[in-house]
Subunit: 624 residues, 2 copies
Amino acid sequence: MSPKITTELLKQLRQVMKSPKYVQEPVQAYIVPSGDAHQSEYIAPCDCRRAFISGFDGSAGTAIITEQHAAMWTDGRYFLQAAHQMDNNWTLMKLGLKDTPTQEDWLVSVLPEGSKVGVDPFIIPADQWKRMSKALRSAGHDLVPVKENLIDTIWIDHPERPCKPLITLDLSYTGVNWRDKIVALRSKMAERKVPWFVVTALDEVAWLFNLRGSDVEYNPVFFAYAIIGMNTIRLFIDGDRMMDPAVKEHLQLDSTLEPEFKIQVMPYGSILSELQAVCASLSPKEKVWISDKASYALTEAIPKAYRYLTPYTPICIAKAVKNASETEGMRRAHIKDAVALCELFNWLEKEVVPKGTVTEIVAADKAEEFRSQQKDFVELSFATISSTGPNGAIIHYKPVPETNRTLSVNEIYLLDSGAQYKDGTTDVTRTMHFGTPSAYEKECFTYVLKGHIAVSAAIFPNGTKGHLLDSFARSALWDCGLDYLHGTGHGVGSFLNVHEGPCGISYKTFADEPLEAGMIVSDEPGYYEDGSFGIRIENVVLVIPAETKYNFKNRGSLTFEPLTLVPIQTKMIDVNLLTHKERNWVNDYHQKCREVIGAELERQGRHEALQWLIRETEPLIRVQ
Amino acid sequence: MSPKITTELLKQLRQVMKSPKYVQEPVQAYIVPSGDAHQSEYIAPCDCRRAFISGFDGSAGTAIITEQHAAMWTDGRYFLQAAHQMDNNWTLMKLGLKDTPTQEDWLVSVLPEGSKVGVDPFIIPADQWKRMSKALRSAGHDLVPVKENLIDTIWIDHPERPCKPLITLDLSYTGVNWRDKIVALRSKMAERKVPWFVVTALDEVAWLFNLRGSDVEYNPVFFAYAIIGMNTIRLFIDGDRMMDPAVKEHLQLDSTLEPEFKIQVMPYGSILSELQAVCASLSPKEKVWISDKASYALTEAIPKAYRYLTPYTPICIAKAVKNASETEGMRRAHIKDAVALCELFNWLEKEVVPKGTVTEIVAADKAEEFRSQQKDFVELSFATISSTGPNGAIIHYKPVPETNRTLSVNEIYLLDSGAQYKDGTTDVTRTMHFGTPSAYEKECFTYVLKGHIAVSAAIFPNGTKGHLLDSFARSALWDCGLDYLHGTGHGVGSFLNVHEGPCGISYKTFADEPLEAGMIVSDEPGYYEDGSFGIRIENVVLVIPAETKYNFKNRGSLTFEPLTLVPIQTKMIDVNLLTHKERNWVNDYHQKCREVIGAELERQGRHEALQWLIRETEPLIRVQ
């Protein structure tokens, strides 16, 4: 990896920072955040502006360029990578270290008095703008919105914003048609007496209209906004995608629908002016609902008195609770995914043990190949983490040629992977040994398994927030002085983003919404030993009602049902460390894998993988 | 209970609300909060202004009086009591119910345009002031500080502020002399470059100077403030308490101490003007440290640019971590407390079973009598919760003649009690049956016990916050659909307040500080069945380092050691519901009770109680 040479680019950027063509007044600093205009976790190439200007292409980082300096803030996952990818025009600001200044403090320390700091108001979320603006103002500077993105002005071969064809999802996938979703949304708006709602997150637009896209890798979304009124629907989307007969039919663009379901299709770029027009026509006391994470540009377009901000939108909350069709789709997707993984693991056992020629990248590609053979496969749901030995201890590892290791009978192999199928999204981690694991490796694996089971089998009252379950996943590790430094679970979309709000399981007490039946989250405790190995056991699980002996205050109880049905390698388990209940859990789980996935392997005529499944799901027997 | 007639009082109050003698401009509303000027949980009679004006004397409630209305906000614990104690001049505002307006919303709905709302700036915490002031301002009203407390102006027989003698604590109790505490505090101040610190909480003043008082019932504190500079100490305290030779000696008031340890004693009432004087002499960049929960009056006295606010003060955090002398004192206190309870329970068994003449109040008094026989007993640490049968389900119950029930062989008895000894503070709950408990009662008790053990025996990494342990206490109850609606534990002072910050164990994720070795908290899960019974098992436990097999990232691990050593009634335990590990925990705990408390009972010649202890600590044997 050689660093990107940025001298010329920075010179050009500093010129446009002063050019009256782009800025009303010169800006002495320019901020380049990571995100896109929708605060997406995964972004399209056209939005990788921070990577373009600096060379650093990790998933998190903020660049600030002044007349004299260029600095990059990123976190511990990326210190090495950023140092390698950036030339010496750049100063690396290591987040989380004591002596690292905040962006605000650094700006105040380097800027001449009364400076202007520019930022693209569509890229910066409103809450970040507020914090930074306040800090700068109190030091005599000004944060100013720069309409035209200054990086784009100097980016010669700037990729176009993707505008790929759409996929329409019928009722058998979504369970609810888009008109009924609009009705439900409007009833939430009526409840709060808010007659307008702005949809800014890409997965929320996709979910609302039962459409999917492929504008962003891994996330089946498309670039769009929507403004929903009590009687109007405006959809902001570019390209000729709306000319597709299937889409036209799906959205009933040509039919004589009731006026309140008539969709006005408008250019993506007209969201701001249309929102301003809506706001201009508001009568007093009418408000506009928007996520508090929306961009500064859109938030600011709504006069303060008319703004109705919430951390989670009603779409985000409705989307998290899967209906029967979505749940069934997720079940089907996980069955297909398990078939692919049984094939993969069977293949690995045959290849790794005698030949020793399988690398991390080969294994990841093979996993994708098996998945792509399954019905309704669309793409992967994230970059496969295929890691062996010490690479397994790098939690966000992705194999690249420079790091690519060969799987062997001497090392633990960790595979965290998933796919998008038209009927659901998967995300599964299994940790395997193709030789003979050491007693210590088995011990650690078994603690992680105990934590996995403790969450998966937990029974808890309705209304419980996911963060209250996090310690269950750690208790067995804690007993021996071990732990893992990541959360235990995240929400999973239904043929949508593999990470979604508003629920999760983490020691970080973010404002998660209570778990309710129909929500889907991951359960993925782990243990990582730097330089040696990584262990993680991840299932996607569905929140379901639990039958309990009593029912305090009639609150009802919940528990989880695993949707992922892939054997957990029994070779790695120290059976004597499991309780009777835990052993039963493993045996019941494997029995279910055998029944459900076995039937599907049989149906698909995958006999060798079926034999592998049967071997891997033999019941555990206590040996001492 | 007949309501207090407040017609005349309210008329007088409404007069002074308009009187130029007390207010610069008339106020159209006056707020009477619960607290005192130190945000104390327990308050002195002179500070019970809300109870005086309304008749309602529960521990939580805020009264607001306008020209037309009088309204009282309180929570679910007190709906009935407040309704009984207040006459029909008052409207009860039930907090937690959907239709109950906030104080701000209510004020806005009833006040004429441009109103002034008055409040005593010493009683309202700064953060509450800020919230309310903002809400009122945005509706065109003003929150204004009224210097003289208007309730006091109409309170004819207003009790005097208590000014009781002080107790000095020598090194054998405190482990650190007050000068070293000042040195440590100044080093924390130097670390943050804050040359001034204002001590506003009563327990923090008491702890800092190794003094105790009895100005407030149950809490061994005295009315005082302090301002600590890098070279000066100002103590604000009234009365001739500083003339006491022991106190003079203790604080070395007459000796030729180094100037930085010379205490300037000033009148309690001069805190505001002295703080203002300190602030007037500040050079730029010098700051004054004060709790963000301090009164509006004191916070406002510090110009905004000079304010350094933190949720927990360095004294609060230092105080929470007990040193060896304090820990040893707490151990001694808990041994004495256990002796008293062994006597009590032995006495109850003898009295309740054959005679049936013991009421809740009699039992509470008897507990106090036995405690008062112990060395260094000072007073109770809170009002004893002595409750039998259905009264046990009222979590904050305190027996009064109207509710006083007789203990019997047919009901569960719950006793939550504690004391202040010169060497430590205790707080213990035991739940007993004097006849034959039902299978269901035993089942519930055993789930609570499992939760108690799960917390007490938990091993967790250094740096873990208490709220991450809360679910351990509930897991066994949750499995059967049961739960309890209170937190699991609170910090406990060392011969100080029985409830203290900054740590605790609760599902409410308040900003608790991480647990560290030397902290002391309670472990008190419960189960309550309205109209039938209450169960709670509470020990005070000390955070201690844990030995673990491994040591991830060299973080080290912690666990708890029970300081409370009172038998847990084995008659109430369904042994078959306990795991092997849990049964061992109970047997080890009882073995320790027998050894430690047995020796002390022997030493004190309390042979009958010793026999009771031996009977109650027989090991559990699995019966199936």
